[in-house]
Subunit: 404 residues, 2 copies
């Protein structure tokens, strides 16, 4: 019997309990042992809940119970989640989590503790919800040098951008709708400002580089500036606009960025609609691969957590290795990042801007004759931001083109 | 040091040797040991080849060398490949293969021998080339009851169908072109008649059902009847035509089929173009997921074989479990399979056919006024084949609609 304690009986935590019960046969068969929930830690009571008798309020009960093999951390936040995770690992209890904030901030430290205590720290659910991506990176791409990962990693913003693209809804209206449907939080910053995507690309990049990329160091631009006007131009370019997290290995260093991108309809990422996520992994041998599925949602995310539980159950008493060291990855600076840019500029400033820059293509706006769209030749981020600074009052918005 | 013997120095075999050399650092790091090729078994000599000194012609040298840990089987064909695989496993040497014919025909027997001899039989490369799909099925979807797998599993036919769709090329012309480019064999039967896809869906289905689906029992229709006319109708229906392998669990039994399908542009499979493959996995918790990448090609396929080598290296002396028993899966019969059908019929017979069937929609042909396209209401395969038999001279072609 494998005994699990679930920390936090919220959306994902209750999904974990539900799947262990609903798919008991599959989970136990795959684990070669029966898997059951022994404790649920939550500050609240759950009268009438079928698992109400398993609810405890004191983490010490869990960490001091030698019968508990695996701790599921679905608390959210960093401080308490980190503290409990660390304690559990120090007691040789494996921890499975969906908490990307803790993984992005404390990953290598917790992985090290797990290794030293013959248990595991697994976090498949922290990126891409139910999409298997972390385990494939660690166990399937073992013959590869990963050259790039680019993904639509946040379902909320992809839902919003899809609506704007397909129905011409404004940013403000689509945000309100997403909030009403429960896709976006009352304070939507983590999603719309790209912070969530940033942590996820930091985790994926650290995994394939084998060293730590600090999410704080990744330039992160959200979708708050994206308007209907941008989508009108995008359509003329056979593009859609997607919030991407992207990173590439460049001579042992790393290029990483979170921003909205123009994605061509020839890219497999173009077709990823609504709340779905997709992660493109480019290996030096296998070329481009793509993993697609529900990036969020109770059961999809919980399914990934339970797959981690099964892995810990099979490997009871052993550490499941993970190539992610404490050492820092060096990020390349803006002078070495190159992109092709789309800019919307005030028509009155078009001549001046066109003189300063190589304009590849010019797109008229149907809706607003006071502006024009320009596609600029590939240039460095450093140079682009100089230009942008100089013409700040005349550049209405800018969007990079995705490479694929 | 992990010593590998490669059986068959053809496309995939030489790719395996190339990757072990080119990505030596990654492969050895992931294996926690140096990985090297000790023997290459081939009937031919390779004068001037950098590995010419490793070439041997006698399998006994390999199987009797206690230093050889892992045997890579990339011979193709069944008889010799099966014989050598079995012998290697009986000598406790793990075997990694891309040979779907052997896996589909002898999978459960070889898996059992591997288990009894504390080694492993791995075949990630046998389905989907470089796309990680077998390992995710075995290790990532462990919290799921898999309900359906549907995939574009053959790159040659997808290349041909894409060309027909996008460029209006005829079947005969596109086949000649594919043969000239080396995508299709001189005898293209295995691809165009769906036999290759059939073996692959049989393998995937056996893996998620945990029992054996015999590929010989799966109805398999190829693309040889697909014409420009079919694509003209498909376009009017916002569909493309794709050769799919598909299977579904139905109350412990299984529905499996290989055939060309009408795939709507809302399906993620619609956008899979050219030689690429994609596998859609539907779990009862995670919903739809999709895995996409190069389904063939030297290095992509070899990359999957080398990932298996790494897995065997890490698990030296142990069996990597696989839920695939010798017991047969029961397949449901035609009276329990339901599809929506598109048929092209001779206009002179339209009235009679429309009286016998529920026609949902009628599509005029622009090119040929002597025929018309009909979309028929969902019905069982049994009923459809009765109708087809009856109106055999008047039904020019039929294509099922994919469910997604």
């Amino acid at each position: 019997m494998i005994r699990v304690a679930v920390l936090g009986y919220g959306t994902v935590g209750s999904g974990v309990v539900e799947i262990i019960e609903k798919n008991k046969k599959e989970v136990s068969e795959r684990s070669s042992d029966e898997v059951g929930v022994k404790y649920i830690l939550d500050l609240r009571e759950f009268p009438g809940d079928p698992y109400e008798d398993k609810v405890v309020h004191d983490f010490d009960i869990i960490v001091n119970d030698p019968e508990v093999d695996i701790v599921v951390e679905t608390l959210g936040g960093v401080d308490t989640a980190y503290k409990y995770t660390k304690e559990a690992l120090l007691h040789s209890k494996s921890v499975c989590t969906s908490n990307k904030a803790v993984v992005a901030e404390k990953g290598p430290e917790l992985l090290k503790i797990a290794k030293e205590h013959n248990c595991s720290y697994l976090f498949e659910a922290s990126v891409g919800g139910g999409i298997p991506i972390i385990r494939p990176l660690n166990t399937s791409f073992t013959a590869e040098r990963i050259e790039e990962i680019t993904g639509i990693l946040n379902g909320t913003t992809n839902y919003m951008l899809t609506k704007m693209d397909e129905e011409g809804v404004s940013y403000d209206d689509v945000l309100k709708e997403a909030q009403a449907k429960g896709y976006a939080e009352r304070n939507p910053e983590a999603d719309v400002c790209g912070y969530d995507t940033c942590r996820k690309i930091a985790i994926l990049t650290s995994l394939y580089m084998g060293k730590t990329v600090h999410y704080q160091d990744i330039r992160t631009e959200g979708i708050t500036n994206i308007s209907k006007a941008d989508f009108d131009y995008a359509k003329k370019l056979s593009c859609s606009i997607k919030l991407l997290g992207t990173s590439r290995e460049v001579d042992g260093k790393c290029m990483a960025l979170v921003a909205p991108f123009m994605v061509s309809n020839l890219s497999p990422l173009y077709a990823i609609r609504g709340v779905f996520n997709a992660v493109m992994v480019k290996g030096n041998m296998v070329g481009d691969t793509l993993f697609y599925g529900q990036g969020a949602g109770k059961l999809a995310t919980a399914s990934a957590v339970v797959a981690d539980i099964v892995d810990c159950a099979i490997n009871k008493g052993k550490n499941i290795g993970c190539k992610w060291e404490d050492e820092d990855v060096l990020l390349i600076d803006d002078s070495n990042k190159y992109f092709e840019y789309f800019v919307r500029v005030k028509r009155e400033a078009e001549d001046e801007i066109s003189k300063a820059l190589n304009v590849k293509e010019r797109i008229e706006s149907d809706a607003d004759k006071s502006e024009v769209g320009l596609i600029l030749d590939t240039m460095s981020e450093e140079r682009f931001f100089e230009i942008k600074e100089k013409f700040n009052d005349s550049i209405l918005n800018y969007i990079r083109f995705a490479k694929n």
